[in-house]
Amino acid sequence: MAGEKIEKKYTTISIPTPLAEKIKKRIEGTGFTNVSSYVTYVLREILAGIEEEKTDEAFTKEDEERIKERLRALGYLD
């Protein structure tokens, strides 16, 4: 990084031309400056939604009991 310029990292993905045209119209007058930035935004939003639906990993019973004890000792829990 010292001296040399950092390259932006992008790749090309094909979408049907009519869809691209439709998106072009859709983003007129919005903050999106091009089709790519809109598609990126939408994909990130969708993927994040899917990730969120996966179940959360649980703590071990011992961890949880030890933590609850500390929380009670500090007055955070009754």
Partner: protein
């Protein structure tokens, strides 16, 4: 409760005895030691260590890690030639900090050079060395070390009784049956404007998580113990016990404005919060950022996984006879009295009690009980 950032709560602590006798040691500064604690306890999830060049470059350009996870503030470990004497990539070394008693191992993945101006311009949007964050970058040593850390030791510290890890807050929120939790970030004792913001947000969720950043301060700032006691008083007198909790966050302010607002939101997501209050000129300093830059940047992150709640400034309207903001009061500026932190500080500095429509009487009394509430 939202999943931790990046999907998994990181735990880089170990109970195993690790023989460190033969490891080369670098003494790190206290901010870096705090970073280690925050990595180890998952506050910085998904980070497992100090950043490599790829992640740093991606953060600079895309405001994201190499796996596309939003991340806006680089977490870096700098070192000079003298410290790196005989240390090379793939070594495991020991990082120590005497001041807060941190000991951690670092599995070095990469040692690399970097350009300070590139970082300063990207993160702080300025090269002005009067900016405290830029100044810190300019004072960094010439090389960076990337790699995973493992926390071996820390020692008891002041305010530990207010310090909860993300694992602990997540269990606390679950025990309280809070599903939606709004986080409030602060560096000051509460005035009526703060209380109003918090309660407005709290009205729509289950619980309020007050999370003051404590640590390094500037002359004239309120001392940490003053902030904590002032909030305890406010909570005791004006909040429902099962609707508000406070714990501290030990991390240094970067004053990176919008980028730091994202970073602040990510940390609170890791604590288990679903919402994060972003104020006017959040994490700003001087005039480097527009007052609502920290609001706008959230538009770049549909996948951040915590909902920002934007507040513009609140004031007291003498015509409404209420605390108002620009969305709810139609009256002219001349009827508005702003909650000026600066003015309240001045009054308190003279040992006087601010008017009750600026600060709760009990809060002011708590602050005035301190012989010297300010950092000298």
């Amino acid at each position: 409760m939202p999943k931790p950032h990046g999907g998994k709560l990181i735990d880089r602590t170990t109970k195993k005895q690790i023989d460190t006798k033969n490891l080369q040691t670098i003494e790190i500064n206290t901010n870096q030691a705090e970073d280690i604690l925050n990595i180890a306890h998952g506050v910085f999830s998904p980070l497992e260590g100090f950043q490599n060049r790829d992640d740093l470059e991606n953060i600079i350009i895309h405001k994201r890690l190499t796996d596309d996870t939003p991340w806006t503030i680089p977490i870096l470990l700098d070192a000079d030639e003298k410290q790196l004497n005989n240390i090379k990539e793939d070594d495991t070394i020991l990082l120590t900090n005497k001041e807060i008693g941190v000991k951690a191992t670092l599995d070095i993945e990469e040692i690399y050079t970097y350009d300070k101006k590139t970082i300063a311009q990207a993160i702080y949007k300025t090269l002005d060395k009067n900016h405290p964050g830029v100044n810190n970058i300019y004072n960094m040593k010439p090389k960076l070390i990337g790699g995973k850390i493992t926390l071996l030791e820390t020692k008891p510290r002041k305010f530990d009784e207010y310090n909860l890890t993300p694992q602990e807050t997540r269990i606390l929120f679950k025990e309280k049956n809070w599903r939606e939790i709004v986080a409030f970030q602060t560096r000051n004792p509460p005035h009526i404007g703060h209380e109003y913001v918090q309660k407005t947000a709290l009205t729509f969720v289950d619980g309020l998580f007050i999370n003051p950043i404590i640590g390094k301060k500037k002359t004239g700032d309120f001392k940490d113990e003053v902030i904590l006691k002032a909030y305890e008083t406010l909570i005791k007198h004006y909040y429902l016990k099962n609707r508000a909790v406070m714990s501290i966050l030990r991390t240094s302010m970067k004053y990176a404005g919008p980028r730091e607002a994202i970073h602040h939101a990510i940390m609170r997501k890791n604590f288990g919060c679903t919402h994060f209050i972003v104020g006017r000129d959040h994490a700003g300093v001087g005039n480097y950022y527009g007052p609502y830059d920290a609001h706008e940047i959230f538009e770049e992150f549909p996948d951040i996984g915590i909902t920002p709640i934007f507040f513009r400034s609140f004031s007291r309207c003498t015509k409404c006879n209420a605390v108002v903001n620009d969305k709810i009061c139609p009256h002219d500026q001349k009827y508005h009295i702003n909650f000026s932190g600066k003015k309240i500080r001045e009054i308190l500095r003279n040992g006087e009690t601010p008017p009750e429509d600026m600060m709760r009487k009990e809060v002011a009394e708590t602050i005035l009980q301190f012989k010297e509430p300010f950092v000298k």
